[in-house]
């Protein structure tokens, strides 16, 4: 996706930024080093069915793996107390990693996707409880779309563009926020939303955001976002919650599906 972005740019500044990103990714792979100094914040998405229950203490296993990865300099010790800011020095801590469990009756495999999402990107996030009037449904949801573009503009270079955004719609505040984080974390950035209305919204927003001129690193250019991912669930008739979560250009995630017969399938 970055290579495509490089081809689209004509000015030297965005080109130099994109070339540095591509070179960095290549060298990180060759040298076995982290792509970025910041490990972000880890969330593990776990889904299972009746015949694929975890059966082990996943929380303990993942927490121990994080500490081990930190000792091996794969992860910088970045987890701190939310108020005192005390850093235990090994990425251990209450609620680390965060878990999102999803029970799907009939799912034959246990799926785990770990997502390390950078936190400079978090500084650009936004959440709003829209009202029906403010959505501007009569103008093809111009109110919602203007807010999305405004949020990307305010984000500027903060979320390490070319970034991706997840947009969560519906539920209440917590539901919309979790949907937004999940959309950008577990979906492939080049997929097409199976819901035609959301697919069209993703296409339109991506095209228009990339006409704003913010560009790679926020210093100007044609690619500000690589992807827009929208997920929606029903909400109450009085409200229209919407949340936007940013993901920096490095999609550091890995996933696996474990089948009861011992088969394994890698995702991404």
């Amino acid at each position: 996706m970055l290579e495509g972005a490089l081809e689209r740019e004509s000015d030297e500044t965005p080109k130099s930024m994109l070339r540095a990103m591509l070179e960095n990714e290549k060298k990180a792979g060759e040298q076995g080093k982290p792509v970025c100094q910041s490990p972000g914040f880890p969330t593990v998405y776990v889904s299972f069915g009746d015949n694929s229950l975890p059966g082990q203490d996943l929380k303990k296993i993942w927490a121990e793996e994080l500490v081990r990865g930190t000792k091996n300099q794969l992860l910088r010790p970045s987890m701190v107390h939310p108020l005192t800011r005390v850093n235990p020095g090994d990425n251990s801590g209450t609620g680390v990693p965060n878990f999102e469990f999803d029970y799907n009756p009939g799912q034959e495999y246990l799926e785990m996707i770990v997502s390390f999402k950078g936190c400079g990107a978090e500084l650009a996030n936004a959440m709003q409880i829209f009202t029906v009037a403010k959505l501007e449904k009569d103008k093809n949801y111009a109110g919602l779309k203007r807010w999305v573009l405004d949020t990307v503009i305010k984000g500027g270079g903060k979320p390490c563009p070319p970034a991706a955004i997840g947009i969560g719609l519906g539920g209440q505040m917590d539901v919309a926020c979790k949907l937004a984080r999940k959309a950008v974390s577990v979906r492939r950035w080049d997929d097409v939303n199976p819901d035609p209305m959301y697919a069209e919204l993703e296409r339109e927003l991506l095209e228009n955001v990339n006409s704003l001129g913010i560009g790679p690193a926020g210093t100007g250019g044609k690619t500000t976002l690589l992807a827009v991912k929208v997920e929606g669930v029903s909400t109450h008739t009085a409200i229209a919650p919407a949340a936007i979560t940013f993901h920096c250009w490095t999609a550091r995630r890995a996933g696996i599906r474990l089948f009861p017969d011992g088969r394994e399938e890698r995702i991404f």
Partner: protein, 195 residues
């Protein structure tokens, strides 16, 4: 494009010669500092206590590295890249008082810093985000570390840089900010699209 390498400590003239959009590299001693680092320096100054390093002419990098501790107690740099600078905006006056000439980070700073830069002769340099391996290649070694009790990311690391960059001048000492200009144009485009 000719490669411009600037030596640290930087003079006011070095910095005033730069314009938004210029691409530069830095050579010399670079200090890292972020939220708790700035907070701690401010506290020491308020209490009239000495600072661990001399900031005059310095380049301060908004960053926290990944490091490896050696058997002799020293540290090797694994990777390093910029963190989001806007969090350090409240310290612009302190940074100017310390005579820091260049701030390296990502995303830029706000209006308060821009005015301060013009008045005091400072610049903001944008590093390529998420390019921690490439940027670390420009650093010869870690010379020293202070405030390590704040944790690895927040400590003040002293880096010996050979050719650190590429860095794009995002805000100059003449009142120009590439971020502010882009934002103004983007706001107009949004208004044209969605009213």
């Amino acid at each position: 494009m000719a490669e411009k390498i600037l030596n640290i400590p930087l003079s006011e003239q070095d910095v005033r010669d730069l314009r938004v959009g210029d691409v530069v590299y830095l050579k010399g001693r670079i200090f890292t500092s972020r939220d708790m680092g700035h907070f701690t320096v401010k506290k020491l100054m308020d209490e009239g206590k000495p600072l661990p390093v001399d900031f005059e002419g310095a380049a301060v990098f908004h960053a926290g590295p990944v490091v490896r501790k050696r058997e002799d107690g020293g540290y090797d740099l694994v990777v390093i890249g910029p963190t989001t600078s806007i969090r350090m905006e409240p310290y612009h006056k302190m940074v100017a008082d310390l005579k820091i000439r260049a701030i390296i980070g990502k995303g830029g700073l706000a209006e308060g810093s821009l005015k301060q830069f013009e008045e005091s002769g400072q610049v903001y340099l944008q590093a390529a985000p998420g390019c921690a391996v490439v940027l670390a290649e420009g650093v010869r070694r870690i010379e020293n570390v202070f405030f390590l009790e704040l944790g690895v990311p927040e400590a003040l690391w002293v880096l010996d840089a050979e050719k650190f960059g590429p860095l794009v001048v995002g805000m100059d000492a003449h009142g120009k900010s590439v971020y502010a200009e882009i934002r103004k144009e983007a706001d107009q485009r949004n208004a044209a699209l969605y009213g």
